[in-house]
Symmetry: C2
Subunit: 150 residues, 2 copies
């Protein structure tokens, strides 16, 4: 437990690079079937006729991919304590089946909770890119983080 | 296709009741394993020690449940055309394994796109409740909706 990162390890302006995630056609359809069963996320032909222009992940799945990269990238190496809100979720471009994605997290600002001094409040920006560097998803929100009291 | 709901069928102030969703313990763990593998979403004991107080869904899963209810509740009966953003996602209370959930959507405001007159832009509020009426999740964001030109 003492090896975990804590609030002090996430200074304002810090940029955390994430790993990569390959999104298969099967995963797009599987996620959509369970959580967002609209024709444009389930069927190639319906997708081509839609504003997406081709089979693309639900925005909620592309967000989930970004969060998975963030969990592997820092949350599970830290005293992360969940979140209570995101203040902006932007799906700037469709995430197409077959794309490989990566991302990063940036500490926009931070403070210690006045009610709970053992808890820090990080305001984070999360960004998801494809391998061509196109920004696909941008999420801004809260990450609660444990404060280490030695 | 002519039976689909269109922009004209979603006036400002309209409230759309959604169906129900029962969230099992297995689904909480399965979702977390794939998309948000933090100990508090995977393990009962870790969850009890966390701010959640018991095994609870990832906020992203509770959002996915609300979106699934919205897709069944109106999107798949309408000319819904995806979304490009949510401006607020609030996880007000943990959604615990074993809870049954319901929700509703409210049309906060609407306008026709100036660039694309065949597309309406609905600003929607989505709310997720448990059977005791506790508000768990509140999401505000954009729903693009086809305009019928007879």
């Amino acid at each position: 437990m003492t090896d975990l990162l804590h609030y002090k390890d996430f200074p304002e302006g810090m940029v955390i690079p994430f790993g990569t995630y390959h999104l298969s056609r099967e995963e797009v359809i599987e996620y959509a079937r369970e959580w967002d069963p609209q024709p444009m996320h389930l069927d190639e032909e319906a997708a081509k006729r839609s504003v997406l222009g081709g089979l693309a992940a639900s925005g909620w799945q592309s967000s989930a991919i970004l969060i998975r990269l963030a969990v592997d990238g820092y949350a599970n190496k830290s005293a992360a304590m969940a979140s209570n809100s995101m203040e902006e979720v932007k799906w700037l471009k469709p995430v197409y089946a077959g794309e490989t994605l990566t991302g990063r997290g940036t500490v926009l600002s931070r403070r210690i909770s006045s009610k709970r001094p053992e808890m820090g409040i990080l305001k984070m920006k999360f960004e998801l890119f494809n391998m061509e560097g196109e920004l696909k998803v941008e999420i801004t929100g809260v990450q609660f983080m444990g404060v280490r009291h030695p």
